[in-house]
Structure formats: structure tokens, C-alpha cells
């Protein structure tokens, strides 16, 4: 174990996987200069054949990832910011997500797309979208959202080794967060949620960047004598429904926290699943804590006003506990 930042954990995973498998190539925008630090040093170690800077042309590079994967490579494609994924969307939505299905499973497409997603850094509306609901709805793209350095390393390795297209979304405001990271080679399988804090009274499912404020909220509420269980899905596609529903059946109350906009947020999907499949266990309406249906603003005070934080989550938890008591 050593204390590392999340972005360093990703960097370690990339080094170890590219060392392990010579079929892996990595390309994208500014991967050599590595503005986030995740691809730092890879070019020097693995050379320009395997690590390439591309022009800024997302429509091409996302499609090249599909073509190179179809032609036998294991591809890591860096799209930089989540909002830029929209520019590369044809190859992601129409090609990567469908080529295997349309051809009756003739091929595998081992692609890991990397992108920073979400707000919190005053990057403003065109650099701050939480893009996971869009990607999860495509059906043929796996979506991974780590919330800690240790998870980031193990999940990124799993994403790279996976034979399907995976989006690995690093939360914009969380790359610098430190945490204990195991030294050894380890993989966290896709599709396994984690109960990051056990509790009896309310389940809080928090996605990606929202795990940290959810844990802070659990601390605040513990001081009020409220026991919150925090569940981190870790991957949205495939989704570990059993762990989420198991927690809901135990606590009977659910709050879902998502940095996506409210309409069709991933929180909506989790809420719907719980309503359909654990209705009998619910003792209060499900609450969702999301971003209002507006763009992400620039000024810090405005941005803080729209992003979920520990206090908003805590209020939702108190509301769900209050249900039925005042009546």
C-alpha cells in the first residue's frame, strides 16, 4: 500500500497494462503532454508506435479506435473532456456500440475510451457535463466511474483487459484525491458495486464523483444519530443491481446521488429499478439528488449552487426519514 492520487493510480494502471500486453496502443489528444497526468511518461516508455498524439479531431479518433480494434489491436483512446465525446459520437453510438451486435458477434472491440467527466473546477458549460447517462443509454458501451484511487487502478485494468468498448470516466474534480493504492497487480471486475459504508437506516447510492460528498453526508448524519449506508455502483454498465437492491431491501429507504442533470439522469434509472423490484421493501418515496436541468455555470458560487453536496444529500436523507412521521 502507498498513498497516491487518483490520477497517479490511473497512470500506474496504464503503465502496467501496456507493459503486460504489447498489443495495446494508446492515442488521443495531447497524451504526450498529458494535461491531466494520467498518460504521463507513457510516450517515453513505449514509443510513438504505441503512444500517439492525434490532431484534435474526435470524429476521426473515436472511429479509428473502432477500426483499429476491429483489425486486432487493444486500443486506449483519450477523448480528453467528456463534452468532446459529443463531437466523436457517431463512431461511439453508431459504430462501437453496435458493430458487434449488427454482425452477430463476429468481432470483439477491446477499446477503453478515457475522458474527464463532470464539473467542480470552473471549467464552465462546455467542459463540465457528466456524460455517463448518454453513454449508458447506448446499450453497447460499458461505463466505469471510479470514486477512489484504489478503485481507479483496479477498474482501469479491468476496462483495458475487457474485450468490449468501455468508457472510463474520471471525475473532473477528483483526480487529485489521495488514497491508499495496493502495489500488486489487481483487477476489480466490472459490474461489482461496493458498499463503501455500511448502515441500517437509509441507502445512499452515489455515482462516481458523488461518493465523496455522500460519505461526508454520512459523517454529518452519524452525529445526528442517523445510520446511512453508502453504495458505490462503480460501473453503471454492467450494473450490479443485486447489491443496490439488497441494500434497499435492508434499509427500506433510498436516496440516489448523481452529478448528471435531473431529466434522464442515471439516478432516475436506479430509482426506477428500486421502484419496480423492491417496492415492497420501500418505506418512503425514493429521493434523487441531481443537477438541475441547466448548463453548468462558471463562477464558483454558481457552480456550487447546482452541484450536489453533502448538505443537499443530508437534507434528502432527512426528508426520506421524515416521511410518514409528521402525518
Amino acid at each position: 500500500m502507498a498513498r497516491k492520487r487518483l490520477i497517479q493510480a490511473m497512470n500506474e494502471a496504464l503503465f502496467e497494462e501496456m507493459e503486460r500486453d504489447p498489443a495495446i496502443i494508446l492515442f488521443g489528444e495531447d497524451v504526450k503532454a498529458s494535461l491531466f497526468g494520467d498518460t504521463k511518461g507513457l510516450w517515453k516508455r513505449f514509443g510513438p508506435d504505441r503512444v500517439r498524439d492525434t490532431p484534435i479531431c474526435e470524429a476521426l479518433i473515436s472511429g479509428m479506435a473502432v477500426g483499429a480494434a476491429a483489425a486486432g489491436r487493444r486500443v486506449i483512446c483519450h477523448m480528453m473532456f467528456g463534452n468532446f465525446v459529443y463531437t466523436g459520437m457517431d463512431a461511439i453510438a453508431n459504430q462501437a456500440a453496435k458493430l458487434r451486435y449488427m454482425t452477430n458477434g463476429q468481432i470483439k472491440l477491446p477499446i477503453t475510451f478515457l475522458a474527464v467527466s463532470g464539473g467542480g473546477r470552473s471549467a464552465a458549460a462546455q467542459h463540465s457535463d457528466a456524460i455517463h447517462p448518454v453513454l449508458a443509454n447506448l446499450g453497447g458501451i460499458k461505463v466505469v466511474m471510479p470514486s477512489s484511487p484504489a478503485d481507479a487502478k483496479g477498474l482501469l485494468k479491468a476496462a483495458i483487459r475487457d474485450d468490449d468498448p468501455v468508457f472510463f470516466l474520471q471525475a473532473a474534480g477528483r483526480g487529485g484525491e489521495p488514497g491508499e493504492v495496493p502495489e500488486e497487480d489487481y483487477v476489480i471486475p466490472l459490474g461489482e458495486a461496493a458498499v463503501v459504508r455500511p448502515g441500517r437506516e437509509v441507502t445512499v447510492v452515489a455515482i462516481g464523483s458523488m461518493v465523496r460528498p455522500a460519505l461526508r453526508c454520512a459523517d454529518i448524519l452519524a452525529r445526528e444519530g442517523i445510520e446511512v449506508e453508502v453504495v458505490d455502483p462503480r460501473t453503471l454498465v454492467p450494473l450490479d443491481r443485486e447489491t443496490i437492491l439488497g441494500s434497499v431491501r435492508k434499509t427500506g429507504r433510498l436516496v440516489v446521488v448523481d452529478e448528471a442533470r435531473d431529466t434522464c439522469s442515471f439516478a432516475s434509472h436506479i430509482a426506477a429499478l428500486a421502484a419496480e423490484q423492491a417496492f415492497d421493501a420501500l418505506r418512503a418515496p425514493i429521493r434523487r439528488v441531481t443537477v438541475p436541468d441547466c448548463a453548468i455555470p462558471f463562477a464558483p458560487v454558481l457552480e456550487r449552487a447546482v452541484l450536489p453536496d453533502a448538505e443537499r444529500i443530508a437534507q434528502a436523507v432527512r426528508d426520506t426519514l421524515a416521511f410518514g412521521r409528521s402525518a
Binding site: R52, A59, L60, G67, R73, R100, M102, N104, G139
Partner: protein
């Protein structure tokens, strides 16, 4: 016809003829099937453009990659795809090359290097560029060929591919089939300048060729594919041709405004690449009319057998409709 420089042996010339005729007869069958209401979905026919797929794919091996378009049956067959399984796919049968999951616009056979037809105009351009990168890294002389239309030439991704292809000297051949129409819009109404010249600012060689002359296409592709194999980088070939059938079969039932004159269609029918090549073969005494007739009969028989196979194949099992989205669903 411009045979100078091809020096093709007779059996290879006849193979070009046979392959063009196979594509034509197969698609005439599909046109009939469509008119008879036998096809579950739309088909975009390649009639009149066969010389391009055949002239280019004559230079390719199974290991080379192609990407194709919504008008992709010709590319599929020219690259060695199986006719019976293609028809079964278009009929929506389990024995189809894609098990009935893809249909006409998605026929693909990766074992033959056919990354597939593509329902998105310009959708194959980036895929071919990526396959070319993989081929370059493999370092064994493979190439990637991208077939696309004049409509796709107006997608920005073509400029992106020319830029990266030239920058990295990718083994990529971009074959633009300018058939005069961007779906239902005449090319001139939606396209400025000459498509072939779009290669020039990137330092990519651009070659314009008569797309209804299989030998001219063969020669242009010979140079381009060899350059790509030898590390010389990409080439843009603009093959001028004409779509003698509509954008999509049955379009006259929904098109509200005619977009071309019948006289224009007739004028281009007179330049049909198949009878044109037949006359050339006869005039140069490289084939007798009996030989060409024998090829026609063999092709007709092959199509009839493929139709029998496809028609008698069972439909897919609806219980399996979720298909194979992922290698590892969990």
C-alpha cells in the same frame, strides 16, 4: 477502354467480368424481390457501379481490410463475401452472414477483411483509418481500403482522415464513388469543387478515373494499393460513375419531386460497365461470345442456388433477439 499497362492474363480479365456480372445479377434479383414485397427492409443497389468494387478488390487479399457504405453489396461480393449468406441476411434469415441482426446495410465478414457496410454516410472513413493504423503497426504490408460516396465526401471526417493518413503515412486507399447523387440531391447542388482535389492540400495523391471502366479502375487501384503496401501513404481515387437505379429501391412510391431526367439515366445506361467490358473483351479477341455466355450461365446458376439457399433458410429465433452486445455481458 484503357488496357495499356494492365497486362492482365486472360483468366484474370474474365474473373473481373464474372465478378461484375455476379454483383449485377444478384442485385437484379434483389430489385425483383423488393418489387415483389419479399424484402423486410430497404436496399440500396449498386447497379452501374460494379467496375469500381471489382477493379479495386482485385488487388486485395483476405487479410486486407475494406469498409463500405449503405450501397455495400458490391463491395461485399467483390472482396469475396459469400452470396448465399449475403442474400440470406437481406432476407432476414438466421443463416445470414450476420444472423439477421444487420441486414442489407450491415453485411460484414471479418474473416474476409470486410469490416462491413455502413448505414451512416461517411461512417466507414474513420474505421478504415483505424484499420490502416493497425495494419501499419502489424508491419506486414496489409492495407485498408475505404469505399465511400460523393455524399460522404462532404462529411468533415474525410478531411480528418486525409490529414492523419498523410501525417502518419497510413496504408490507406480512399475510393470515392462519385455516382452523381447524394441520396436524392444531385452532387452539383451540394458539392463545391472537384472531390479529387480535396487530397491535394494534404499532400495526398488524387487520381480521377472513369468508374465505368473496370480496367481504368484496376490500374488506378494497382498504383494506390502498391503505394500503400510499400509505405508510401494514402491515395484518394475519385471514380466517376452513375447510379442508374434510385438511392433506395421503391423510392418512387414516396419521392414527391423527381430529382433527375430519364434521358440522363438512359445516357449513362449506354455506358454500362458490364456490356462495355464485354465488347472490349470480344474486340480484343480475349474472349469469345460463347465464353461470355458460359460465364453468364454459370453466374445465373450461382445466383439461383444462392436464392434457394437463402429462401429456404429459417428465420432467426426471436428468443435470441438480444443477440451479442458484449463479449462479456458481466
Amino acid at each position: 477502354m484503357s488496357v495499356t499497362g494492365t497486362n492482365l492474363p486472360r483468366h484474370e480479365l474474365l474473373a473481373l467480368y464474372e465478378r461484375m456480372l455476379l454483383i449485377r445479377r444478384a442485385e437484379e434479383q434483389l430489385a425483383q424481390d423488393c418489387a415483389a414485397g419479399k424484402l423486410p427492409g430497404p436496399v440500396h443497389l449498386y447497379v452501374g457501379q460494379e467496375a469500381i468494387a471489382v477493379g479495386v478488390c482485385a488487388h486485395l487479399e483476405d487479410r486486407d481490410w475494406i469498409t463500405s457504405t449503405h450501397r455495400g453489396h458490391g463491395h461485399f461480393l467483390a472482396k469475396g463475401g459469400d452470396l448465399g449468406r449475403m442474400l440470406a441476411e437481406i432476407y432476414g434469415r438466421a443463416a445470414g452472414i450476420c444472423g439477421g441482426f444487420g441486414g442489407s446495410m450491415h453485411v460484414a465478414d471479418f474473416s474476409k477483411g470486410i469490416i462491413g457496410a455502413n448505414g451512416v454516410v461517411g461512417g466507414g472513413i474513420a474505421l478504415a483509418t483505424g484499420a490502416a493504423l493497425a495494419a501499419q503497426l502489424d508491419g506486414d504490408g496489409k492495407v485498408a481500403v475505404c469505399f465511400f460516396g460523393d455524399g460522404a465526401a462532404n462529411q468533415g471526417v474525410l478531411a480528418e482522415a486525409l490529414n492523419v493518413g498523410a501525417l502518419w503515412k497510413l496504408p490507406l486507399v480512399l475510393v470515392c464513388e462519385n455516382n452523381g447523387f447524394s441520396e436524392f440531391s444531385p452532387t452539383a447542388t451540394v458539392t463545391s469543387g472537384r472531390i479529387v482535389e480535396r487530397a491535394r492540400p494534404f499532400g495526398v495523391p488524387g487520381v480521377e478515373v472513369d468508374g465505368n471502366d473496370v480496367l481504368a479502375v484496376w490500374q488506378a487501384a494497382n498504383v494506390a494499393v502498391r503505394r500503400a503496401r510499400e509505405g508510401g501513404g494514402p491515395t484518394l481515387i475519385e471514380a466517376r460513375t452513375y447510379r442508374t437505379r434510385g438511392h433506395v429501391e421503391y423510392e418512387t412510391t414516396f419521392i414527391t419531386e423527381p430529382y433527375r431526367e430519364e434521358a440522363e439515366v438512359q445516357a449513362w445506361r449506354a455506358r454500362d460497365p458490364i456490356p462495355r467490358f464485354a465488347s472490349w473483351l470480344l474486340n480484343h479477341e480475349l474472349a469469345s461470345s460463347q465464353e461470355l455466355e458460359a460465364i453468364a450461365q454459370a453466374v445465373a446458376q450461382q445466383v439461383a442456388e444462392a436464392v434457394r439457399f437463402a429462401e429456404s433458410a429459417p428465420e432467426p429465433d426471436p428468443a435470441l433477439a438480444r443477440g451479442s452486445m458484449f463479449v462479456n455481458p458481466r
